[in-house]
Amino acid sequence: MNAIVQIAVDALSLGGLYALTALGIGLIFRVMRLANFAHAELVTCAAYALFALSAHPLVMAVAGSVVVAVVLAVLTERLAFRPLRAADPTTMMIASFTVSMLIQKLLIFGLGSRPKSLDPAPILSQAVWIGPAQVSQLKLVTIAVCAVLLLALTVFLRRTSFGLQMRAAAENFTMARLAGVRANAVIVVAFALSGVLAAVVALLFAAQSGFVQPRLGVPLMITAFVATVIGGMGSLPGAVIGGLLVGVVTTLLQTFLPPDLRPFREAFVFALVILALLVRPNGLFPARGLKERI
């Protein structure tokens, strides 16, 4: 019973992180068909902002990191992705790789590649009892924050007029523009939202791992991207479910694999990814209007 509660909390908190990152990637993919690999750098820069502001109260530090992430996201859109809007998705993906590498190297150049320790929310490191099991407060907060953000995003997309415009642009960009949706505004808001999500992920991830380094966001981004593809590129519920699924599978593998096979658990996860893609190439919840004929 203890073990099940702990495994569940671990799985949901890891899955929640992946789901939030996958949402950030999926939002941009829906409106622009761009697989944004620079999202990792948004997380990294937000974490560095937290590090820079660590002497100030938590609220200020979080606000600062959100601002940094949003500004960076909007800047990358304006400078790197807007000129390429008419190019094909592969070109845009390679461009996002380039932006990601540029920011990484700039960070290494400016701040050094050694990890710096960071503890934004020390009060959360205490353990809390759920029944007989002892779980980390931080993981519970992660799950709660993820749930709240998902809910907020869903409400935004379904109930507000801007959310409606974004969904329209996602389904058929040209038709939406003809109907009066302002394309630039929609895309900039999508990037800004992904910046906010990246900042939240940065806070939670940095609190869990305790340090920040230039390649912080990369493993998170890779797994979240894969989760997005499994869940169905361009489908937001798919991204969330893909993220949760990968988190759960990783945690289960970590728990139940024999010890000498444990270092290879990522290999097992990716083998399952290949299997999932062979069975459902469009993802588990393919978005309408985005289905390529495979």
């Binding site: 697989a35 998705p89 592969t90 993906m93 890779i222 991207f225 894969v226 593809v229 590129m233 270092p263 290879f264 990522e266 290999a267 990716f270 083998a271 990814v273 290949i274 893609l277 062979l278 190439p281 469009n282 390529e292 495979i294």
Partner: protein
């Protein structure tokens, strides 16, 4: 059988001759330059082999192929394990099976053996993956590369994990690299 006139054959092979001439010219220039430049040119020619190999697939199929990098790793370790002298192997990789520990093939057979092993692996894993297309195929090849990375990086008994393996024979000089680069270009052209 398609009858192609000699003139047409020469005209169609013109790009091939131009590229091969370029490679030979670079090698000749590097041959008279200092050692640092020569080393950079060797690295450049090895990269030519890598890129040409990658593009034999990507150019013809139009699918982003990340797994090529994983195969490079497999080939590198195969070549290393088969050509390293046994005492170097014993120092870094004490847990190798007996036949692998004792194997010491001539240095130049390393890349060909590595290539053969990679071809076999690629055939086995590529057959199911090539049913996909578009971004699903790109992600599947990405997963393959990641699997190679994790497996080779953590299988300490076979590859030493993250440690450096030293004692490999340094046989890639300027002209060997040039030869491989030319071979890659010719192969790409003929395919």
């Amino acid at each position: 059988m398609i009858r192609v006139s000699l003139r047409e054959l020469v005209l169609r092979s013109a790009p091939l001759f131009a590229l091969v001439a370029l490679i030979v010219a670079i090698t000749l220039v590097a041959g008279v330059a200092d050692a640092v430049t020569a080393r950079r040119v060797i690295l450049c020619l090895v990269n030519v082999v890598a890129v040409v190999g990658l593009y034999i697939f990507m150019g013809n199929a139009g699918v982003l192929n990340f797994s090529s990098v994983g195969f490079m790793a497999i080939g590198a370790y195969t070549a290393a394990l088969s050509t390293m002298p046994p005492n170097a192997k014993g120092m870094f990789l004490p847990d190798l099976p007996g036949w692998l520990m004792a194997a010491e093939l001539p240095a130049l057979s390393g890349p060909f053996l590595g290539g053969g092993v990679c071809a076999a692996v690629a055939l086995v894993v590529g057959l199911p993956i090539m049913r996909l297309s578009g971004i699903a195929a790109a992600i599947a090849t990405f997963s393959l590369m990641f699997i190679c990375y994790i497996v080779l990086g953590n299988w300490t008994g076979l590859t030493g994990g993250q440690i450096l393996l030293m004692g490999l024979k340094a046989y890639v000089g300027l002209w060997i690299a040039c030869g491989f680069a030319m071979g890659a270009i010719v192969l790409a052209f003929v395919y």
